[in-house]
Symmetry: C3
Subunit: 158 residues, 3 copies
């Protein structure tokens, strides 16, 4: 186990969580490489290899478009997320790339003050260690939700 490597990955995952939870969505695409892929799917579809992602993007430009759409819709104002990330396992693929798997839960708080456990699942990540500016970036982040009961308001990135 490479200690520095694991802590670098956990640091990336922590910064990502705070970026979303702090509503700094404009910075979110910068966590991905230029051709980075982002996908939200359910455990059921993931295991059956069904090509029905809830959200899909395969470039930073698509992620930026998504943020613009969210800002236009103003849905983001109505809710706030709180990410907990745990049990991260890191595996080196080659000198410049690692894979990581983590568990997560997200609590959602509405503007009314009502809080609920909104989502749980796994992050399956492929990370380029020295991306733009020498910082690690996601080549791929697959969000596998435990439940197929997805709130139709699902809008903020997970």
């Amino acid at each position: 186990m490479d200690i520095a490597l694991r802590l670098e990955v956990e640091h990336l995952l922590a910064r990502y969580a705070h970026c979303i939870d702090d509503d700094r969505l404009e910075e979110w695409p910068e966590f991905f490489t230029e051709r980075g892929r982002y996908r939200i799917t359910t455990a059921e579809n993931f295991e059956r290899n069904l090509p029905l992602p809830i959200v899909y993007a395969d470039s930073r430009a698509m992620l930026r478009d998504r943020v613009s759409a969210l800002r236009h819709a103003n849905i983001y104002e109505a809710q706030r997320y709180r990410h907990v990330v745990s049990a991260t396992l890191v595996e080196q693929v080659d000198a410049g790339v690692v894979r990581a798997v983590s568990n997560f839960t997200v609590v959602r708080t509405m503007h009314t003050g009502e809080s609920m456990l909104f989502a749980s699942g796994r992050y399956l990540d492929r990370i380029r260690l020295a991306g733009d500016g020498g910082r690690p970036q996601f080549e791929e982040r697959v969000v596998v939700l435990d439940s197929r009961q997805i709130d139709t308001l699902l809008a903020i990135p997970l």
Copy 2:
């Protein structure tokens, strides 16, 4: 504080969580030494030192039997767990053994898609650092649940 030691323990706890959450229960007994003890109890009984564990095993063979029984009953198909482990503290007992305490929460998702906070509590672990194959293994794992309201379906290991 020994950094490598703490990260090795956290790595063990993370692998254990994914083993159960991925439904790889047949691998679960391998996290224990041959005479490893596993116990689920409630905070109330634990503090009063009452010998009424909800689940008890004192060997890897008993853990394997438990997995067989679970597979036979097919209960495991109806539900899925998601573990979050946090606030791990590690204390060295001797050259080869450490104690660790962690907080955990478990979200359960039913096959219907319904999710709920299923359990919270503490892991109290005694870990042999160089177990079989040189990997760390539990000599003892005590799962202390915060609540005494236990779902009677409690079947999957925590």
Copy 3:
């Protein structure tokens, strides 16, 4: 990123969580410097810079008074907390002081056995690395709750 520094901060946060969850409240003030500040507020008030904390103390003596009051009221017996702390980011301020931000969730279990997600939010900490006895201590801990719906029984420190 300084690995030892980050792990030392995470260790402090873990010890703090267990201190409260184990109901060792008399030790809680010792996590703060003599003039340490502790504040619980809501995200809404925090962002608007409103001076309406739910709980406020600006010395260890005030924290001790608070614990005495809690013990006298016996409210603490009726409930138990379980903290999960995640996504800690550490930033060095100067040689002896760091700032840290973390996400947290707290599950509350009543003496009836009923469990619920009680609170979620952020810890904003200012930590003196070599406080009393050479151990790190909080110069300031601000607990920013995601929700403004606060249980009026809010009594145990978060």
